[in-house]
């Protein structure tokens, strides 16, 4: 691959990873002071802070590659169509079970992704992935514990957990889509081929869902487009809340 191709495509890839982490952190942060129990409040916001940490490293790196843009520029001064996160992470929290389902699907994906990305030819990405994989494997474990308890709990908790799985399952297909940018970066050894992650992801989730007495919905609907800046209706509200302070008071700090 030529140097020219690298300079154009690596930051675009890094932004996808960064936006996934940033937007999910923002969503999980909404649970702050609203979780069912104080202990769970701390757990969810801890996970949010882990993800925010990953997002900051990735955004800083993307900003550096793009030439002199800061993590704040990228987080707070891009508009909706410039964000390239997958739609799964921007889905509203719903009830606690829906949040657990989203965490389960996404953390299981991130575990496989970061484990593979640790081998990336891009040394910075590999280092960030190496550090993040320990944290996301804890996120996955947290989601598994709750999936088992809610799925195999009371009739009401089972109903809600199944509803969470049913509602979010269609959005998981986007995680494993490839495109020209990914194909080029996979060939260069920089990016991870998402198609190759799917068997391990399914292999992990299958037994968990079965033990939790949950079923995978049969659906062919597979919403997509986040990587091209197409987002769901709720995403604009999330961005408004996340960005308004920085945009109203540029340069504000604690």
């Amino acid at each position: 691959m030529t140097q020219l191709a690298t300079t154009a495509s690596v930051p675009a890839y890094v932004l996808r990873l960064a936006d996934d982490a940033l937007i999910l952190a923002q969503r999980l942060g909404e649970w702050s002071a609203h979780a069912p129990e104080l202990e769970e409040d701390v757990a969810l916001t801890n996970i949010a802070l882990d993800l925010l940490g990953h997002a900051r490293m990735l955004l800083s790196y993307a900003g550096e590659l793009l030439g002199g843009r800061t993590e704040d520029d990228l987080a707070f001064l891009r508009d909706e169509r410039e964000f390239v996160n997958c739609q799964l992470v921007e889905r509203p929290n719903g009830d606690f079970a829906a949040t657990v389902a989203r965490q389960l699907f996404f953390a299981a994906y991130q575990c496989e992704l970061y484990a593979a990305l640790g081998e990336s030819a891009d040394a910075t990405l590999a280092a960030i992935a190496d550090r993040a994989v320990k944290e996301v494997s804890y996120h996955r474990d947290h989601a598994v514990q709750w999936t088992l308890r809610l799925g195999d709990g009371t009739p009401e908790s089972h109903r809600r957990m199944q509803a969470g799985v049913d509602g979010l399952w269609p959005y998981t297909s986007e995680l494993f889509e490839s495109d020209d940018l990914l194909l080029a970066l996979v060939a260069a050894g920089v990016a991870v081929d998402p198609v190759a992650l799917r068997p391990a992801w399914s292999g992990f989730l299958g037994p968990v869902l079965a033990e939790a007495t949950l079923t995978v919905p049969e659906t062919t609907w597979a919403p997509s487009g986040g990587r091209r800046g197409l987002h769901t209706e709720d995403f604009g509200l999330l961005l408004a809340e996340m960005q308004h302070l920085h945009r109203s008071h540029p340069g504000a700090s604690w």
């Binding site: 202990e39 701390v42 514990q145 308890r149 709990g153």
Partner: protein, 125 residues
């Protein structure tokens, strides 16, 4: 609060038969809402030291209590090992019996290892 006061069967909660049905603090002040049992948390700071009581927390069951303890009490690298124990499973001495329990030991100096010179190189004493 007895199980009869609560709405429904408490043994059905949580799954995996992990939530004790009786003898669990149910948060009587919280109205009809059942609360999770209380666990006491012990953390070992590093190898060679004992587990030390650091506080308590509520959790749906013991496994979740371990997770919550990790989030609440080892955020700043405090531990290498965590124990959680159902608070109800701890039998404690009563503060009212402090004198008969502990005072007799006070004047028995021969029980204290004060007649030895401890070398400075020996840690953790």
């Amino acid at each position: 609060m007895t199980p009869a006061d609560s709405d429904g069967d408490p043994t059905a909660e949580g799954g995996h038969d992990a939530v004790p049905a009786t003898g669990v603090e149910t948060g009587a002040g919280a109205g009809k809402r059942r609360s999770w049992p209380l666990y006491e948390v012990f953390v070992r700071g590093r190898r060679g030291l004992n587990h030390v009581h650091v506080g308590s927390l509520h959790a749906a069951d013991a496994e979740m209590a371990l997770h919550n303890a990790r989030d609440l009490y080892t955020r700043r690298n405090e531990g290498v090992s965590i124990w959680v124990v159902l608070a109800d499973d701890i039998t404690a001495s009563s503060p009212a019996e402090k004198d008969p329990f502990f005072a007799p030991a006070g004047d028995k100096v021969y029980r204290h290892p004060t007649f030895y010179v401890i070398p400075e190189e020996v840690p953790h004493l």
